[in-house]
């Protein structure tokens, strides 16, 4: 490690604010970029499962009649 302490790494001779801000502003959209399609996928997945349950219920009642 180049820095002597975590505090020094945080401060970075006065440039810490810019560097950490840049990394934070990169990390947030990157997380969203991965999380959003996963969330969409999960929603579609649930929709299909619900649809399957509905169809199963429909065929069950038909068979009952």
């Amino acid at each position: 490690m180049y820095f002597e302490s975590l505090a020094a790494a945080w401060y970075m001779d006065g440039h810490g604010f810019y560097v950490w801000l840049a990394y934070a502003l990169t990390a947030i959209p990157l997380c969203f970029m991965v999380w959003l399609p996963l969330k969409r996928m999960r929603q579609h997945w649930r929709w299909i499962q619900a649809e399957q349950r509905r169809q199963a219920a429909a065929t069950a009642t038909e068979a009952g009649i």
Binding site: T26, L38, Q52
Partner: protein
């Protein structure tokens, strides 16, 4: 070759392969990103002229590089969709556009933040930043055009035409902005030559570039899987996967 193209056009096959791929690629990408970021932030020595602010390079350059490459990936998918009319190419194009736009935006924002300690101002009309800004417009154009069409098959076609025109134009735009800048370059701003970069700084940069490529691939694949799930929500093969899981 043809069998591969044919297979890639088949959603069930793609869905299975991409599932395996993502399962492996996602952890690897996260690992690469964390390692690269820690290396660049904490281990690499500071630049002798810019001090520690140069550490932004480890996200700025990779995002810019991958954003530009992403446009070519998108345009290639567009060309495949126009020529061979493979629906999967449409899905790829649609999935790549927002990812590329986000990466371009990241490159712009980090560039601006880097500019403050280096040049004393948040925004400089530097050749590369200006080119990135135009690339962002090109990406946003594709995304907006896709959203504006009601018929999504037609939307994919229109976007393919647009991204191909854009691809031909990108080198011209970059070159013209370069000339424009060298004509107007203010004397007060100086750049560190990239050729002079030391190996101890270069390795984490290369690592981060690889990591960003992986991230692009993962994000595109995830988008494609989400889109395919919706498009084939009525299909038997997908229902089997869902009920089997």
């Amino acid at each position: 070759m043809w069998t591969i193209i044919h297979k890639m056009g088949s959603p069930p096959w793609f869905f299975r392969i991409s599932g395996v791929l993502v399962r492996w690629l996602l952890p690897i990408t996260v690992m690469l990103l964390v390692c690269g970021a820690l290396w660049g932030l904490l281990v690499a020595p500071p630049d002798f002229r810019q001090g520690n602010s140069y550490r932004i390079i480890y996200i700025h350059v990779p995002s810019a590089v991958v954003a530009l490459a992403g446009y070519y990936v998108m345009a290639f998918a567009g060309a495949v969709s126009l020529i061979w009319r493979i629906k999967m190419a449409d899905v790829t194009m649609r999935a790549a556009a927002p990812v590329g736009a986000v990466l371009t935006a990241i490159a712009l924002v980090t560039g601006a933040i880097w500019g403050k300690p280096t040049w004393g101002t948040w925004w400089v009309w530097d050749a590369r930043i200006t080119s990135m800004l135009i690339l962002l417009f090109l990406y946003l154009g594709v995304v907006a055009l896709f959203e504006a069409y009601e018929n999504k098959t037609a939307a994919a076609r229109a976007c393919a035409v647009l991204s191909l025109v854009g691809t031909v134009n990108i080198p011209i735009i970059y070159k013209s902005v370069d000339w424009w800048y060298s004509l107007h370059q203010p004397a007060s701003i100086k750049f560190t030559g990239e050729s002079a970069i030391d190996a101890s700084m270069l390795y984490p940069l290369l690592l981060m570039i690889v990591a960003f490529y992986c991230l692009f691939a993962v994000a595109v694949l995830l988008n494609m899987r989400a889109e395919l799930t919706w498009q084939h929500r009525e299909a038997g093969w997908l229902r089997q996967i869902v009920s089997g899981a």
